[in-house]
């Protein structure tokens, strides 16, 4: 199945753009998606601890299960204010 990735701030540079589609196995979790990203771009590896995820506009933990067409946001530490 295919999910849509959004990446913000410094993670956009690592992803190579603000948006991308990624194929993952049916039943994959965010942790599985992250492992796939790290395989494709090893620069993601050291960012695991600081990256937060949103699924369809809501903050979620990385055991969240993905569905076809989901929008997954990759977010580095916030810097608002």
């Amino acid at each position: 199945m295919t999910v849509r990735l959004l990446a913000f701030a410094g993670l956009r540079d690592v992803l190579g753009g603000p948006k991308r589609e990624l194929s993952v196995a049916d039943g994959a979790t965010l942790a599985d998606l992250w492992a796939e990203l790290v395989r494709a771009r090893p620069q993601f590896g050291p960012l695991e601890g600081s990256t937060r995820f949103a699924l369809n506009g809501r903050l979620v933990a990385r055991d969240a299960t993905l569905a076809e067409g989901d929008e997954v946001a990759l977010m580095p530490p916030f810097g608002g204010g």
Binding site: L6, F8, A9, G10, A54, A73, P77, F78, G79, G81
Partner: protein, 140 residues
């Protein structure tokens, strides 16, 4: 209650108008303003903000509701800029109205502290000379 994210310069008056009411004897406002920090990379001349608007707005609403529950009742309005903000320009504006000033001060401080931790906004420091760097908030 009013929560906004956008590229237009911030104005505090509409936020004050949004929270004012006959039951409230105190209105506290906060403006976060771009500072010309001297960093090892150079002197900051602008901060460029970006937001994941859907998530940032929902978290701003949650923070406003929490501030009211903890310290209020209080009415809260928050606006955050996106795009480039030059030195001296406001990047965030908050207005809080409550019956008395202690609650309004406490709720306003809570709102900015939580915003910096929880709201999906990022900033890039741009320095004189053209260098730039993403700068997360310090862990509290």
């Amino acid at each position: 209650m009013r929560y906004e994210i956008g590229a237009a310069p911030l104005e505090i008056a509409p936020l004050i108008a949004a929270v004012a009411g006959p039951e409230n004897g105190a209105i506290v406002t906060f403006l976060g303003v771009v500072r010309a920090d001297d960093d090892p990379e150079g002197t900051v001349e602008a901060l460029v903000y970006e937001a994941y608007e859907e998530l940032a707005l929902s978290e701003m609403r949650a923070i406003g509701a929490e501030a009211s529950t903890r310290f209020g009742p209080a009415r809260v309005a928050i606006a955050h800029r996106t795009g480039a903000c030059g030195v001296g320009e406001a990047s965030v504006a908050i207005a809080v109205a409550a019956a008395h000033r202690a609650a309004a001060f406490d709720a306003c401080e809570y709102a900015i502290d939580e915003l910096k931790k929880r709201v999906a906004v990022w900033k890039q420091e741009r320095y004189r000379g053209g260098a730039a760097r993403w700068r997360p908030n310090a862990e509290v």
